[in-house]
Amino acid sequence: MARVVVDVMLKPEILDPQGQAVQRALPRLGFEGISDVRQGKRFELEVDGPVDETALARIHDLAESFLANTVIEDFTVRVEEVAEAVK
């Protein structure tokens, strides 16, 4: 079993009210030096079987047709080796 991660972010030119709200709150929390914040979605898909070219291509289709609305969003698909928490 492997994990494929699809990240979906609003296109850069599209307003991201959520990211902006976070950014505006930062100074109040005493955080400086962050010039932009954007907030998107992260999907973790647990795939049975090997994640080969074909599987990735199918997930790419899934992302394009369902997980993202490409009118306003971009997405990336990648295989995640190990889920490693910095925490």
């Binding site: 609003l10 296109k11 030119e13 599209i14 307003l15 009210p17 709200a21 609305n69 009118v71 306003i72």
Partner: protein
Amino acid sequence: MSRTPLDTVEHAAATPDVELPWAELGLKKDEFERIVEILGRRPTGAELAMYSVMWSEHCSYKSSKVHLRQFGEKAPESDAMLVGIGENAGVVDVGQGYAVTFKVESHNHPSYVEPYQGAATGVGGIVRDIIAMGARPVAVVDPLRFGAADHPDTKRVLPGVVAGIGGYGNCLGLPNIGGEVVFDACYQGNPLVNAGAIGVMRHEDIHLAKASGAGNKVILYGARTGGDGIGGASILASETFDDAKPSKRPAVQVGDPFQEKLLIECTLEAFKEKLVVGIQDLGAAGLSCATSELASNGSGGMRVTLDDVPLRDSTLSPEEILMSESQERMCAVVEPGKVDRFLEICEKWDVIATVIGEVTDGDRLEIYWHGGKIVDVDPRTVAHDGPVYERPYARPEWQDALQADDAGKLPRPRTSDELKDQVLKLVGSPNQASKQWITQQYDHFVQGNTLLAMPEDSGMIRVDEETGLGVAIATDGNGRYAKLDPYTGAQLALAEAYRNVATTGAKPLAVSDCLNFGSPEDPAVMWQFAEAVRGLADGCRQLGTPVTGGNVSLYNQTGEAAIHPTPVVAVLGVIDDVARRTPAAFREEGQLIYLLGDTREEFGGSAWSQVVHDHLGGLPPRVDLERERLLAEILISASRDGMIDAAHDLSDGGLVQAVVESALLGGKGARLIVPDGLDAFTFLFSESAGRAIVAVPRSEEVRFTDMCGARGLPATRIGVVDGDTVELQGEFTLTLAELRETHEATIPALLA
């Protein structure tokens, strides 16, 4: 990023032969030539941007204007009208010093492309129109139409649209108190997402969109300007002048309801301190529209420095800034001495506000960029002197055949069992089924003034806590009726909304509309449009309810196929004491059920013909507006004098639909008898207009029937509120449980 050289007015005058992409911007050759003629030179890129958006169908009403004039010409005398057509929204007097503004707008196409954001920004736009009048928005409504309920794309569009309307309206704190949900294959690919809003203010707080007083400052406030909805302008910016530009800008806008909520609060606070001379929301055509409209409605000119507009994207060209449709922005004209206070209020609410220009002595709108003058126009030529078309129109050839295909000839149920089956089929069909799965995604309670909300006949809001003054609103439309006969269809929409308001005890005062049609370039569609407008204008004159404003949405079609002509009508009413309102639910056993009005064999365009036979043909129900007016008077008097405890209007689905709804709402059944002179089928399913059912306490029966008799309104006792079944004597009995299951399961099964 500035291109070389900047296309200033001077530069334009000196380079008359530069090719401009007017066609790509949607202008016709003669329209472009008119612009050249008006200016006496070729327009600059920025001027072309402004003219092209302001002269678009959406902003200039170039195809519809010649017809819409009837709303003014035929307007009935009305003391209630304070502000009429032409402003952001109409305003009516509701008494006690209060005024109410309301309007309906469409956001059809964007909602198909991106259902959530398209619908959300539709709510945002209509609410800004309401604030721009000086009012506090108090409620929204959302008449919606989708493709077939079981079409896969409906499952994509509808949940997104509903979530978007809820997501935006709920976050603004506006109760959603009404609307419609209609399914019909004709809206596949062209869903109709109409959104309406109501606002309340004191008479003295009415504000208009005009810039007067030389020296007064023009303040842009709200969201930063980004590259939203400016496909056309980026053509202008990139392909013609500077190929380094990104050539594609998003056509869909993302809404920020939180920003809009702040905009509402800070605008109202500025109004309260009398800081605002004139105000305009930024909607379609953004700054182009706001500056040219403010300037042309005022007494002087206006000078704007575009460099001062706060941007979200620093690469935007001046053309793009002028055309951007970034949401949640407003423009206010403020006296110099009050600017500081205005900015302070904006800061209090964390709203960005910037002085971008001032009102001038002259009569020109001048816009500067990087020190150069890029716009120098008479603002009236941009805002008001757009092209006007007398589009050809002709009754389509198929209309006769359609009308000849009489629904009265369809096979009717022959046995009691068939009758019963068809009743169940009707109340469980997507169009007649409970819309609770949808409406429970909307906040009905916020602001603490909601008396009635879905599924009541009209939404009702308390305006004054002390006196109990309230307003009611209902929106209605029936594309099937309008397809059969657009003139009558428009009047039926009006009649139904009017009746719905009266059914709850409120007196209908004024009308707004949203006219959804196919392509005006098709003479058949144009005929439908012309007929609908004529029908509505005639109807409003007869009912004494002026049209105060509205919206036109054209080009709702896929290829050659246009949607059904769909005029949606909103009627606003007033009630002196909301404690006297009449709900639809049967609540007391033993109360007598009366049917008001005449029932005829009218099945053209009916729900029965659709649900049982998938048929559309014949003539829609007849309209008798004098009867509607009488019915309304009776319903209002009966409510005021406490003669009725429930009332429900009869419309699509006919009597049985209304009885089932009232029974389910109150959890009390009904025993019905077919009255003399009618057969059971016609009694249950006819859609004759001008009818309602009422529940009358026995103690009031004589008083009530005397009143109807004296005023000449047919009132027929058809049964009694009783038990936990709906029974038609001698025909069938259905338990409330079974009816509820059938009525409530349909929509979740299709969409959840």
